[in-house]
C-alpha cells in the first residue's frame, strides 16, 4: 500500500526526531508503533498523514492509492471535537469540508455513529459526553469518509482502564469487520499486543525501528487470556528492554 524509504526528520531547531526509517505497510495491516515518549512515533504518524514533510527519504504510495483529501483518517490523543457542534455534526465535518450537505451525508453519519455504538447520542454536545464517548465520536469522524488509512495517535492514553479495554475491543472488532489499514501509536505493550498484527518497537530519539514483531496470537474473543498473548507480551517486553535502556 505504501512504502517508507529511509525517512528521517530533523526539526528546525536541529533535533533529529527520526533517523533512517524504512518499512512497508500493506492494505489491511494493523501496525502498532511502540516506543518511549519523544521517540518520534507521532512525528512518523504526521509524516504518513502528509501533515509534515520528511527531511530525507520518501514515502511512496502504490500506484493508484495516493490519498486525496479525507482519504486519511486521523484520531488524536484527545478527542478534539468542536465543542459547539453535536456528535453528528462533528462526524459530518470531514464530509462537510468536501461540500456535502448534512442530508447528503446523513447515511454516512448514521453508519459511522452506529459503528462506534453512539446512535442514541447523535444530538449530544461534547460536554455532555464521557471521555470514552468523545473518543468514539472522534473515531466515527475519522471513519465517516471511509479512509484508506486510519492513523491513531495514542487515542486511549487519557482514558480510564475499563473504558480503554472496552474501546480496544471495539476497535479490534471494527478493524476485523472493515478491514481498514490502521497505524496505531501507543506506549502500552499490552495494548500493542492485543490490537496489532505487527508491532514496531522504536528506539529513543532519534527514533529508529529497533524491532518488528509479528502478532500470532489467535484471533479469538478472549485473546488476552491465551498463553500466546502472554508470550507475545514477554517477547515485546524483551525487545523493548534491549532497545530502550532502563
Amino acid at each position: 500500500m505504501l512504502k517508507i524509504d529511509s525517512v528521517s526528520k530533523r526539526f528546525d531547531n536541529g533535533t533529529l526526531a527520526l533517523d533512517d526509517i524504512s518499512l512497508r505497510i500493506e492494505a489491511g495491516d494493523f501496525v502498532a508503533l511502540l516506543g518511549p515518549s519523544g521517540c518520534g512515533k507521532s512525528t512518523l504518524l504526521r509524516l504518513l498523514a502528509g501533515l509534515d514533510e520528511p527531511s530525507d527519504g520518501r514515502i511512496t504510495w502504490d500506484a493508484g492509492q495516493r490519498p486525496g483529501p479525507g482519504d486519511i483518517g486521523f484520531v488524536f490523543q484527545d478527542a478534539t471535537l468542536l465543542p459547539w457542534a453535536s456528535a453528528a455534526d462533528n462526524v459530518w465535518l470531514p464530509l462537510r469540508l468536501r461540500g456535502k450537505t448534512k442530508s447528503e451525508a446523513s447515511g454516512a453519519i448514521a453508519s459511522a455513529l452506529a459503528q462506534v455504538e453512539l446512535t442514541d447520542f447523535s444530538g449530544s454536545r461534547p460536554r455532555s459526553l464521557s471521555g470514552g464517548m468523545k473518543m468514539r465520536v472522534s473515531i466515527a469522524r475519522a471513519l465517516v469518509s471511509n479512509p484508506v488509512l486510519l492513523l491513531m495517535d495514542e487515542p486511549f492514553a487519557a482514558l480510564d482502564e475499563f473504558t480503554r479495554h472496552k474501546l480496544q475491543e471495539d476497535l479490534r472488532k471494527l478493524w476485523r469487520v472493515s478491514g481498514k489499514t490502521i497505524v496505531f501509536v501507543t506506549h502500552s505493550i499490552y495494548e500493542a499486543a492485543f490490537l496489532a498484527t505487527r508491532i514496531l518497537v522504536m528506539s529513543p530519539r532519534p527514533g529508529r525501528i529497533g524491532a518488528e514483531i509479528a502478532n500470532t496470537v489467535p484471533d479469538i474473543a478472549d485473546r488476552r487470556n491465551t498463553p500466546a498473548y502472554f508470550n507475545l507480551v514477554k517477547q515485546v517486553t524483551a525487545a523493548f528492554r534491549a532497545i530502550v535502556p532502563s
Binding site: A49, G70, I72, T80, W84, L93, P94, L97, R98, S145
Partner: protein, 254 residues
C-alpha cells in the same frame, strides 16, 4: 438561604453606605457645595431629570456607536493580523501606540480635525475602546487548537472553511470577553471626549452636564450626573455579560 443573603449582600451594603453617608451629612451639617447627601442628589435628579436623561441618551449614543465601530474594526484588524504575519508586524505596534496614548491628550486635536461633533466624540471613544476587541480576538484566533487545524488540513479545507467553521467559532469567547471590556472603555472614552468638547462649548452628554454643574457650584446635580454615568457603566457591563452567557450557552448547550 445563604445564596439569597449573598445575592442581596451588595444591595444591603449599598443601602447601609447610603444611610451612613446621609447620616454623616446631617450630623456634621456638611454644606451641599462640599458634599451633598444622597437625598439632595435624588432631589437634584428629580428637579432636572429631563436634561440629565437627554444627556445620558447622548452619552450612551456615542458609547454604543463607538462600541459597534470598535467591534467591527477590532475583528477586521484581528482577522487581517491572523491572515498575514506581515500585516500583524505592520499593525501591532501602531495599535499599541494608539492604546497607550492618553486620549485626553489627543482629543482636542480630533475635535479640531473632525468637524462633526458627534463623529469626533465617536472617534475618541473608539480609540480607547477598540484595543481589547482587537487583542482578544487576535488571541482567540491564534489559540485555535492545532489538532483541529491539522484535521481541517487533512480534509482539504479551504482558508474560508477553516475561518468560518473553526477559527471564528473558537475565537468567539475571546471576542466576547474583549467586547465586555470595550463596552466600559467606550463609555470612559465618550466621557473623556465630552469633557474636552464640553470645555470648548459643545453642549452634549453627561460629561458636559458635570462640567456645567461644577461651574455653577450645583454639586448635587453634578453628583446626579455622576450616578447616572455609574449606572450606565454597570448596565453596559451587565448587558454584555448577559449577552456573552446567552450566546455561549446557546451555542454549546443547544
Amino acid at each position: 438561604m445563604n445564596r439569597t443573603v449573598e445575592s442581596l449582600a451588595p444591595y444591603l451594603f449599598g443601602l447601609i453606605g447610603l444611610g451612613l453617608w446621609q447620616g454623616a451629612v446631617w450630623a456634621f451639617n456638611v454644606p451641599q457645595y462640599v458634599l451633598p447627601g444622597p437625598a439632595a442628589i435624588a432631589m437634584a435628579y428629580i428637579g432636572d431629570y429631563a436634561t440629565l436623561n437627554a444627556a445620558l441618551v447622548s452619552t450612551l449614543s456615542v458609547t454604543l456607536v463607538a462600541l459597534l465601530v470598535s467591534a467591527t474594526l477590532g475583528v477586521a484588524l484581528a482577522l487581517a493580523m491572523a491572515a498575514s504575519s506581515l500585516i500583524r508586524a505592520a499593525i501591532q505596534p501602531w495599535a499599541v501606540i494608539l492604546q497607550v496614548t492618553p486620549v485626553v491628550a489627543i482629543a482636542p486635536l480630533i475635535i479640531i480635525w473632525v468637524n462633526q461633533p458627534f463623529l469626533a466624540l465617536v472617534v475618541c471613544a473608539t480609540i480607547i475602546s477598540f484595543f481589547p476587541v482587537l487583542s482578544n480576538t487576535a488571541a482567540g484566533l491564534a489559540a485555535t487548537p492545532h489538532d483541529l487545524l491539522d484535521l481541517f488540513r487533512l480534509n482539504g479545507a479551504t482558508r474560508w472553511q477553516t475561518l468560518a467553521l473553526l477559527r471564528l467559532p473558537s475565537a468567539l469567547p475571546y471576542f466576547l470577553a474583549g467586547l465586555r471590556i470595550s463596552g466600559t472603555l467606550a463609555l470612559v472614552g465618550a466621557v473623556v471626549a465630552e469633557f474636552v468638547a464640553g470645555s470648548g462649548g459643545f453642549a452634549s452628554g453627561l460629561a458636559y452636564r458635570i462640567l456645567e454643574a461644577g461651574y455653577r457650584l450645583e454639586i448635587p446635580r453634578m453628583f446626579a450626573a455622576l450616578v447616572l454615568l455609574a449606572v450606565a457603566g454597570i448596565a453596559i457591563y451587565a448587558a454584555l455579560g448577559a449577552l456573552t452567557n446567552f450566546v455561549l450557552r446557546r451555542r454549546d448547550d443547544a
